[in-house]
């Protein structure tokens, strides 16, 4: 579903990422680690078509990202749920409507999915905040809301950029639980994180592969974790 072939990316200076090849198989669970500034966020953006590789090829669902029009990109984003590192919301709409936003913009009947929405909000522990406006939320609540919004469309692939960066241990376990659950339902999951304890916790529940960005290359991390 996501295929990167000898890809490289540079923001204009030297190459940030080089010679990256990866096939993300359906149903797989990946972690992406690396020091801050290594290019994890950049790598994820290449995986959901927000950035175009400066060399090599990125194929998303069989389409070359270079050939995607703006509408194609929009449709792609309905199939790939993304939890952004700096989660942004529509500040004038209450939380529940923000989580339902992907349904709304894709023309789905939001009322018909009210039950799903409620379940999801409850799952993320946000029921008591559903009418709050995003600026009133704590960092952890925003991240949970971002995850809920990323999965509301039941996407085939979920890419999460530091989804547990702002939450306490208990809540990070809960978020992980949700992602593992989605993976068991057949979704492909990739989580960028530098939280090694999160990776260890996941390893006991699901078969994962850990990718590490080091020296601009993508490496498969060994059993040293």
């Amino acid at each position: 579903m996501i295929e990167l072939d000898n890809l490289a990316y540079s923001y204009g200076g030297g190459e940030l990422l080089s010679e990256i090849s990866l096939r993300l198989a359906p149903g797989s669970f990946h972690f992406l680690t690396g020091p801050s500034g290594a290019g994890k966020t950049t790598f994820l953006k290449l995986c959901y078509g927000a950035l175009i590789p400066t060399a090599g090829r990125a194929m998303l669902f069989g389409q070359d990202v270079r050939e995607l029009g703006r509408d194609d990109v929009a449709l792609l984003r309905r199939r790939i749920g993304v939890v952004h590192q700096d989660c942004q919301f529509l500040d004038h709409l209450p939380l529940a409507e923000n989580i339902a936003l992907p349904l709304m913009v894709s023309g789905r009947d939001v009322a018909a999915e009210a039950q799903n929405l409620d379940d999801l909000i409850a799952w993320c522990g946000l029921s008591h905040r559903r009418n709050a406006l995003p600026p009133e939320l704590s960092g952890g609540e925003r991240q949970r809301a971002a995850l809920a919004r990323a999965v509301i469309m039941s996407p085939e692939v979920i890419l999460a950029d530091e989804p547990t960066g702002n939450v306490d241990w208990e809540m990070s376990q809960r978020l992980l639980q949700l992602l593992v659950e989605l993976n068991r339902m057949g979704k492909t999951v990739m989580i960028a994180t530098h939280d090694l304890s999160l990776i260890r916790a996941a390893k006991s529940q699901v078969q994962t592969r850990v990718l590490r960005i080091a020296n601009r290359r993508l490496q498969l991390a060994g059993a040293d974790l």
């Binding site: 927000a50 703006r70 509408d71 929009a74 449709l75 792609l76 984003r77 309905r78 993304v82 952004h84 942004q88 919301f89 529509l90 500040d91 004038h92 709409l93 409507e97 936003l101 992907p102 709304m104 913009v105 894709s106 023309g107 939001v110 919004r149 469309m153």
Partner: protein, 301 residues
């Protein structure tokens, strides 16, 4: 026109839920409302002016053009003979449908405003007037003048075209300027709404970014803005229309001797035109906002 109506119906039915994705922006909303109201108000008057002058030019060039007056001024004893001779000439002139000498009573009625009712016109050396009604094709005024000069020396033909032509020309010019004003008003409204839309899109850059991230297509985003601006423009135009028509209705009603100024208004089918203005304003807003939104969205990452 049909296409516009379909679009408007679609807009009005609307997707109120989708509309909420764009936060209400006070400033651009008020600007659009005001621009549409003011421009429609002006358009009502420009329209009234164009229709009234159009009517006037039409009347002058049909009714008046079809009649002329022959004046016989000669010594009292010659009047009867020359009148008969003139009528004789007129009856054999091609393009004259009928010719008739005005009776003493009719002449008195015509002169009354100047002399008062008690002046005995019969005793004054008042010229005899002959009313000429032309056929649709009209007659050759110069030819007629030559024949009259030979046969009826006291006759003076006043065929009205002398003063009518410049008036008809002026009326047509005023009408053209009225229509030009309508065009300019529409253009200015489009420009102002484009500016307001640009400003709204710029102010909502973050909203647009979030919508794009969650998979909204440009069309969806553009529609949310377009719907809003179109509805605002229509509401503003309805307001401007009400004020404009109020102003027109408050003008003194048309008097025959008031001529042009008091005739400034709508008559008969002409009443349809002002009510099309809100639809037109909506169409202008729709077009202007959609163009602005598409251009800006295409330029975004």
């Amino acid at each position: 026109m049909r296409a516009v109506l379909v679009i408007l119906a679609d807009l009005l039915r609307g997707d109120t839920q989708a509309d909420r994705v764009v936060p209400p922006t006070g400033f651009t909303a008020r600007l659009t409302l005001f621009a549409a109201a003011a421009m429609t108000f002006l358009a009502v008057f420009a329209l009234a002016l164009s229709l009234a002058t159009g009517r006037l030019a039409h009347n002058w060039s049909t009714e008046l053009a079809r009649s002329a007056t022959l004046r016989i001024s000669t010594s009292q004893d010659q009047v009867a003979a020359q009148t008969a001779a003139a009528l004789q000439v007129l009856q054999t002139t091609e393009g004259v449908a009928s010719a008739r000498a005005l009776s003493e009573a009719e002449q008195q009625a015509l002169l009354e405003p100047w002399f008062g009712p008690d002046v005995p016109i019969a005793d004054l050396p008042v010229p005899q007037l002959i009313e000429i009604i032309e056929t649709r094709k009209g007659y050759d005024a110069e030819g007629l003048r030559l024949r009259l000069a030979a046969e009826v020396p006291g006759a003076v033909l006043d065929d009205h075209t002398r003063w009518r032509r410049p008036l008809v020309r002026a009326a047509s010019r005023i009408r053209a300027m009225g229509l030009l004003s309508l065009g300019l008003i529409g253009g200015i409204m489009a420009a102002m709404i484009t500016l307001a839309a640009h400003s709204a899109l710029a102010a909502n850059a973050q909203v647009i970014a979030v919508l794009r991230l969650v998979g909204a297509r440009d069309d969806f985003i553009a529609r949310a803005f377009v719907r809003r601006f179109t509805l605002r423009a229509i509401s503003g135009a309805i307001l401007g229309l009400a004020l404009g028509l109020g102003g027109i209705l408050l003008l003194p009603s048309a008097q025959p001797e008031g001529g042009f100024l008091t005739g400034l208004g709508f008559q008969g089918w002409g009443w349809i035109w002002p009510f099309l203005l809100p639809l037109l304003a909506g169409a202008v807003a729709f077009w202007a906002t959609r163009r602005a939104a598409r251009r800006i969205l295409r330029g975004l990452a």
